[in-house]
Symmetry: C2
Subunit: 333 residues, 2 copies
Amino acid sequence: MDNKKLTIDDIARELQISKTTVSRAISGKGRIGQETRDKVLRYIKENNYKPSAIARGLAQSKTFNISLVMPGDSSLVDLPFYHGFLWGVSNMATKSDYDVIISMVSEKDITQLVRLIENHKVDGVILGRTLEDDIAEKYLKEKGVPFVTAGSSLDPTVIQVDNDHRSACRELTSVLFSKHITKVALIGSDMKTIVSKNRLEGFKDACMEYQVPIEEDLIYLDRDNESKIEAAVEDILKKNVECFICMDDYICGCVLSKLERENVKIPEDIKVASFYDSILLENSKAVNVSLKFNVTEMATACCNTLLSCIDKQEVPIKTLLGYEVVIRGATQS
Amino acid sequence: MDNKKLTIDDIARELQISKTTVSRAISGKGRIGQETRDKVLRYIKENNYKPSAIARGLAQSKTFNISLVMPGDSSLVDLPFYHGFLWGVSNMATKSDYDVIISMVSEKDITQLVRLIENHKVDGVILGRTLEDDIAEKYLKEKGVPFVTAGSSLDPTVIQVDNDHRSACRELTSVLFSKHITKVALIGSDMKTIVSKNRLEGFKDACMEYQVPIEEDLIYLDRDNESKIEAAVEDILKKNVECFICMDDYICGCVLSKLERENVKIPEDIKVASFYDSILLENSKAVNVSLKFNVTEMATACCNTLLSCIDKQEVPIKTLLGYEVVIRGATQS
DNA sequence: CTGAAAGCGCTTACAG
DNA sequence: CTGAAAGCGCTTACAG
């Protein structure tokens, strides 16, 4: 690599001072004369010296690495989220002189994560998604590794950062109700995920608030593949509803294309709302109401919380992030 | 973290042997008695001891980390590639006990990468994409950091792994020509990228081979946004061609939706071929011929090449990977 | 086959 | 304000 690998020793020798002093000049810790410090700092600048993060790590029993755990099996619609999240975390970590080591896991295989922890290569972990019965979460908790989850966990002792899906979905639903659109059908995905449950709750909250009866036969859950979703759509179309509410954008995409094939016009014949607003749908004029969450904010919050955690500072168990209700075109009034 | 952080010292003390011996038992290097080794190994297993990668790194002046450089500004269509690539690299690295630190860069900002190198946190780097005038590539070369590029570089001294785009595109084009579809229009994207150039070359190769004259007015380059692509489509439609060849899937997507809006039927009115075959188009019955590349193979090759490189082994400067020509539906005959 | 010792490149009490 | 020394947890000549 670099032909001349400068070390703190070289500098000390060159400047005729002890390496203790050099170290202090760099870190800023401990008392040190202004002159001496300047001398060292200047030399460092001129010779482009950068301390070895590894050595510093060893001495401080830290790694200055965090791991971001990503699902290797994530579906196409989730990719933009994970990409943005990765970017956000990476940027934030960099600012604190941390680096992020990726570990790819699947629902039942967390060997990469385990290796990372066992090899003592990270100071903490961000869990990029949460599952109801999450082995990664369980493992980390058991090992006592500092970690935060992006998304909610059912375990109240777990540090978590999440968008306020429940409120958001309540509010989106309320928007419809307030426009007297009350005959709505909800299509939801895998109810094993915590976020799905929260969204459903938010929907019900709005029903309560507006005293709209919850019609169970207009709520279609666990529609986790295209055919199940299309079946739901067909069924719903017979029921003369005013609006589809899709729990996520995968569903929404399927619904839209199904409606197009069925020659159903949006918003004339029926309206469509989505509890999410990914780039994939961002430009779709067909979605009348949707929710927008800020990935970067999420990433930043996760990263900062984790770093504070590693730093032994107090952090809130649960951080709830905001959202935005997006109303488009014809639904406005 | 773990309450009981076992170290090699503890083991040595416990077993009444020197830590040298313990180290040897673990690494397998150096002569050591079978009995002693077994004793150590057993103890290690029972007490679930794992050596600190950081400490080992310091002692060996290695980090056991590689960095994967990803564009933070990549567009939606590229996400599946990068995700799959990340997954492949991560898996492969793990097998060799390496970890991958992500660094996100943009065309003109490589500060994250620079930090990583300067802090001595990685042994080598994989460049996830190549640009014609790549500052990351230039930086790494200058610093003497081992690295390989996923994709071709113009610099003949750079270790690179790439799909054989030129041959692939030649072959795809030949498929059309061999079916006597010779009146074709080519729509290409940013000609600053090396891959675009290769694809164009491949196309021309096929023209040569089949003695089909290259009609420059049927070649539309640098169509890097939707409106430019649509303009090209409109223009081409007037020219009575038999087949569109799209240089990548972003273009192909735009072309398809434009054609749909124009009510042009595929493949009756016109055929569509793509020099790429991402998941995004995978299920599109509308694309008649396309190319398929194996991301995992690419990731594996990059990773292995880099690790060999770090290991001071000889590696081929250029590794060319295969491809598959995918022929669908109506174009078959 | 095994061990004492030096070293990887830093940090940090402790003493002055 | 500054330094000698021990230590972080391993590896690796060198010697026996």
